[in-house]
Symmetry: C2
Subunit: 370 residues, 2 copies
């Protein structure tokens, strides 16, 4: 069992790749008093990252003293090459990465270097990101309070694992240690399949008449929001995690066949909707399994809807009212109406505070209802 | 061209079915000074609706004077029977309904009564609802600012159409007139398929290990939220709109086959990802087609993320700050961290106000970034 490390045990850190995540790691380390070195094949990105305070450019001639930790933060398609390159170039360093997929890069790196040399490589995946990309979108605090998966191979050096977990904690995240294959199955289910489902739903809008689009409400907006993410990055992620995704897609195709069969009866009134019922029930059950806040079991929430003028200050007044009534808002959605200058706000609160909130909003002249 | 009608041209109104929508129609009419009559086979629901002010119970012995307008607001599976019953029982009344599907009930009603008697029937579909149901969940203002589809058959009496559109406007909605078949295709695409996609995604969580669920973030929460809706009502909706839904499901199965094929190459690095690229691009394009607020073209938005303590008053302070900086918040999401007592709030603002918002939040000691 290695002793706990102090944050400066990470230093010197070299960050390879100064996009959104690499630059944010540099900024988070700078916030913790650690000055990183930065490298990127794109000199413009490198200058922006350095200029924003994520670290200083690594010396090209190799005159820097050797890094203790190398963080590979390149696009998904380049990860294996970059990890192998880092392990070779820095034979005493721990190497980690921030890629969305863990098993395939590990297998490639192991095949090319052998297991012994790979003991210094420990994969990582911070659960932070954005629909934006690049160093201008980076910030020191994007990891705060997020999960950071750490995915060591069985042969990984425990001291290397400790160093990567220290990186995650120093950046503000909570470590979730998982085996690489398990991680990939998890993100296939929790992130990559949902992304593809959002994309498949949104893609159906491309040839929709305007009159159809006018009937779109908050439901389809929620379902499709993440489909706006960078398609080049998502292609690389999906390709790299193809195996577990294909298992889920195979399940999905079976589900769709069953669903279609339950809608195909010659007399639908008498059709066997048992399969449809089971699917809808599983959907309700699945939404209830998503974790509540702070890892507590989810408490039953109810939604309060309130109508507010669509102008600066309305939300402030609304929330001041809620706060004065000592009601904690758990979640909130805003839906703009199709023809008028006000918005409809849906506020989720724990069930036993809903009436207090509605009363307070109404006392304050806001039309509100469950 | 009939003359414009005043709201009291609707009266007397009979509402058949006092669930969420029927009771809310009664409350909205009461707000406009129109006292509706209510009927329901469930006497408890009827008493609750009447007690909440949605109208008075219709006389069972038929001593009421004949209604001008009958609003059928029963569950989807009962619509045709109820519409036929209303047309027969009230030979001088206009009859409308509030069901989610329009072509099948119209066809059934026409087959049973003939086209001439059906001229008094004009379907409607207010784009309002909730994951809750029943008269206790009703409110006068749930239709305010929403679209209300009005779907007359070609043979419909123009005066009947005008009366149903007056109902929609009196309840606070904006009329969207559509042919019944077109409406059903629109809601299959904009509402029913998204619902099934959310359900299919959420259903994959039922057998997920806890460690997988811990990696779930805002993305999967958004994609699956509507899957929590009432499965009995959704089964009836899906069955009633089976034909256009099955067309979309057939498209979807083809898309999935292509997607799977593009992930199945013996050498993925060299795989033809053209189909995957096209799908991801269509997803981005589709999200951009969803209407912006107030029917204006969508303006480019950027997301500002801010970290706030998870306690009453935090959101109030945040929005007071935004309002003081004259920044209008277009949308907002709240993500709770997995282990700490603060929340991460994502705020969408038009691009040229993002820096002002960030500066104001930071001046106020809130950590904020794009």
């Amino acid at each position: 069992m290695p002793e706990p490390l102090a944050p400066d045990a990470l230093s010197p850190v070299l960050i390879c790749g100064t996009g959104l995540i690499g630059t944010s790691v540099g900024l988070a380390l700078a916030r913790a008093g650690i000055a990183a070195r930065l490298s990127d094949t794109n000199p413009a990105a490198l200058r922006v990252a350095a200029g924003r305070g994520a670290g200083r450019q690594a010396d090209i001639d190799g005159s820097d003293c050797p890094p203790r930790l190398v963080v590979v933060a390149t696009p998904p398609a380049d990860l294996s090459d970059e990890i192998v390159g880092a392990l070779r170039a820095h034979p005493d360093a721990v190497v980690t990465d921030v890629g969305s997929v863990k098993a395939e890069p590990l297998a490639e790196v192991t095949a090319r270097l052998g297991r012994r040399d790979c003991a210094r490589y420990v994969g990582g995946h911070p659960m932070a990101g954005s629909e934006r990309s690049g160093p201008m979108a980076a910030a020191a605090d994007i990891f705060d309070g997020r999960s950071w998966a750490v995915t060591p191979a069985a042969e990984a050096d425990p001291a290397a694992v400790a160093m990567v977990e220290l990186l995650a904690v120093t950046c503000g995240s909570a470590v979730v240690r998982m085996a690489p294959v398990d991680h990939d199955r998890a993100v296939a289910r929790m992130s990559h399949l949902p992304h593809l489902m959002a994309v498949l739903t949104a893609a159906r809008l491309v040839d929709a008449p305007d009159s159809h689009l006018r009937l779109g409400g908050q439901g389809i907006r929620d379902v499709t929001r993440i489909a706006a993410g960078d398609p080049v990055m998502w292609r690389q992620i999906v390709v790299a995690n193809a195996a577990p995704l294909r298992e889920l897609l195979a399940d999905l195709r079976v589900q769709l066949e069953i669903l279609d069969g339950s809608l195909a009866g010659p007399n639908l009134e008498a059709a066997d909707t048992g399969a449809l019922d089971a699917l809808l029930a599983a959907g309700v059950a699945g939404t209830n399994l998503l974790p509540g806040k702070h890892n507590r079991p989810a408490r039953p929430l109810v939604t309060v809807t309130v109508q507010i003028p669509d102008e600066p200050g309305s939300l402030a007044a609304l929330f001041t009212t809620a706060a004065a009534a000592e009601v904690n808002i758990e979640d909130l959605r805003i839906d703009h109406d199709p023809g008028r200058a006000f918005g409809l706000v849906e506020i989720d609160v724990v069930e036993d505070r809903a009436d207090a909130l509605i009363a307070a909003l109404r006392d304050n002249t806001w039309p509100a209802h469950r």
